[in-house]
């Protein structure tokens, strides 16, 4: 009985989003209210516990939202200047080979876009481009959908990974290597599946070499950058390197030449400058001690006392999430957005009143997701403090036992599918996965790598993303066809993560559980 009551808020979100097709903001509100009611009426949460839990939730929400807001601001600054379109239009110049076009645009460029923007942007931008190049609308939606999945966790300038750190309470340097490794390995399969979606088995065989070269380049870059504590630009750097490797590779697969307008290299360079600034500022803040210390002087830090529910669950005393306000990834993104704005403005890329449109567009776009993050984070923190997460973890540990590592990525995938995002999935399930791993004596970082990699790859299946992608490729009303194709591809990818998680846990424990 306690297990099902503890599970109820999560089931409510699942039912409302998948069954009744509610948006994340609505379902998050319902999940929050049900968690609050159950915490008070059944799990013995008093006013003191609830009050402190809400303040902790506020800090966690801000930690994630600062990045989401600033990441979308940077995307709007570039998009308003036409930079995204310029880069997208330059890519077909590289090759007329359809398989290679699918790899470069639908996989590499999609990963780059996920690195800098996210929020469904890769599919929305790329699907119409592929249709314009002669791909069938279904292919045009499916290719970028699969293509960007591996880059979601470290994409959107690290917001999903920030959520994983915030919800699990583990530092990034512990979590990043395993998560980046799983996603890097998945990138190989992603490339092969993109080739398959573009041209079937023949394309897979023909393009196996470029797939491996690109996957190795992008995956390794993401791994190294994330390992160097630069997780907010890890996926972005992977995508950027993919574009750099992709140019000479594409020339080897030229295909039949088509007549195109001459490529304006200066325009492409200006378009990319906004993102070069981001790399420069991030590196400066992280690697130059003087700058790092100067910007890290102001920190929002709140100490919380030990909290106990009436049913006896104790949360130890300790600080909440620390937010170094001027060194936070959100702040770095804001500095980059401001500089990028002035560069684009100086290059004459903005129409009058561009700044107003950028700010208005950003605020309008992020408000709904801000509401859903605030609700879901509060729900997760209340559940954690009332002991509901502990009960769920104990139930999962006893029922799944040693097979839990196989299941962990599917929990993440389910969370991403039902909430529409890797970030939300990490918020809802991060603490549960850590606690279950602890009960089973598994390394939490491996289980969380499975959680976030599963969520990353399955987030492309979220109904909201599919609706956006289908509408931009003229597939509105045929979302079911897209979902059917994606289901097979995504299922394979999450299965791979499942096997990787189990294998890593076995290697880590150095024993065979069967």
């Amino acid at each position: 009985m306690p297990f099902f009551l503890a599970l109820f808020p999560i089931l409510i979100i699942l039912l409302l989003m998948v069954g009744l097709r509610w948006g994340a903001a609505r379902a998050g509100g319902a999940g929050y209210l049900s968690a609050l009611l159950l915490a008070v009426l059944y799990f013995g949460a008093d006013t003191r516990l609830l009050a402190y839990a809400h303040t902790k939730a506020l800090l966690l929400s801000l930690d994630v939202l600062l990045i989401i807001w600033a990441a979308f601001l940077l995307y709007r600054v570039a998009d308003e200047a036409g930079a995204i379109r310029t880069i997208g239009l330059a890519l077909p110049h590289l090759t007329a080979d359809r398989g290679m076009q699918a790899l470069i645009i639908g996989w590499v460029f999609a990963s780059f876009l996920q690195g800098v923007g996210g929020f469904g942007v890769p599919v929305a931008v790329i699907a119409p481009l592929l249709v314009g190049l002669g791909f069938a609308p279904l292919q045009a939606v499916v290719i970028p959908s699969i293509g960007h999945g591996w880059a979601v966790t470290f994409g959107s300038l690290g917001s999903s990974f920030q959520a994983l750190m915030a919800s699990s309470g583990l530092p990034g340097e512990v979590l990043a290597p395993d998560s980046a490794l799983f996603l890097g390995i998945a990138a190989i399969l992603v490339g092969l599946l993109v080739a398959h979606a573009a041209g079937g088995r023949q394309a897979v065989v023909r393009l196996i070499a470029p797939v491996f070269i690109l996957a190795l380049g992008m995956g390794l870059t993401q791994y190294l950058v994330a390992g160097a504590k630069l997780w907010n630009i890890a996926s972005f750097c992977g995508g950027m390197l993919g574009l750099l490797i992709g140019i000479p590779l594409a020339r080897r697969f030229k295909g039949e030449a088509e007549e195109r307008e001459a490529l304006a290299l200066r325009a492409v360079a200006i378009a990319l400058s906004g993102y070069v600034i981001l790399i420069a500022i991030t590196l400066a803040v992280q690697l130059v001690p003087g700058i790092k210390n100067f910007l890290g002087q102001v920190v929002i830090r709140v100490e919380f006392p030990e909290l106990a529910s009436a049913s006896g669950y104790i949360t130890p005393a300790g600080p909440g999430r620390n937010i170094p306000i001027f060194r936070h990834p959100g702040a770095i993104l804001t500095y980059s957005s401001t500089l990028a704005y002035f560069i684009y403005k100086r290059a004459g890329l903005y129409r009058p009143k561009a700044a107003n449109r950028i700010i208005k567009g950003t605020v309008e776009k992020v408000m709904s997701s801000s509401v859903s993050i605030a609700s879901m984070v509060a729900m997760a923190v209340i559940m954690e403090h009332a002991g509901m997460i502990e009960i769920l973890a104990q139930g999962l540990a006893s029922s799944m036992g040693r097979a839990f590592p196989l299941v962990a990525p599917w929990i993440g995938a389910l969370g991403a599918f039902m909430t529409g995002s890797n970030t939300n999935s990490n918020v809802v399930f991060g603490a549960l996965q850590v606690r279950t791993a602890e009960l089973l004596n598994y390394q939490a970082a491996l289980i969380l790598a499975g959680q976030t990699a599963g969520a990353s790859l399955a987030s492309v299946m979220a109904p909201t993303k599919i609706v956006v992608g289908a509408s931009t490729a003229g597939m509105a009303g045929k979302e079911g066809d897209v979902m059917r194709q994606l289901l097979a591809y995504t299922g394979l990818l999450v299965l791979l993560i499942s096997v990787l998680t189990m294998g890593s846990v076995l290697l880590d424990n150095n024993n065979l559980w069967w």
């Binding site: 903001a25 006013t47 408000m367 709904s368 801000s370």
Partner: protein
């Protein structure tokens, strides 16, 4: 009447979401101080505001 209210919420989704978000965020900061002072009445009032924010979010179809 109810249908009209839902239509209004849908039409003004951005404004309603903005109010809902502020109701979720601002009282959460003050809840810390209310708990530190042991003011349980004030905690309920502030929690009521957060709950109202979540109810508003649910009303936007």
């Amino acid at each position: 009447m109810t249908v009209n209210a839902f239509k209004w919420f849908k039409k003004n989704a951005f404004k309603v979401h903005s109010v809902a978000f502020l109701l979720m965020i601002i009282p959460s900061a003050f809840l810390y101080f209310a708990a530190e002072r042991g003011a349980s009445g004030l905690v309920w009032v502030l929690l009521g505001l957060v709950i109202a924010g979540n109810i508003l979010a649910i009303l936007v179809r």
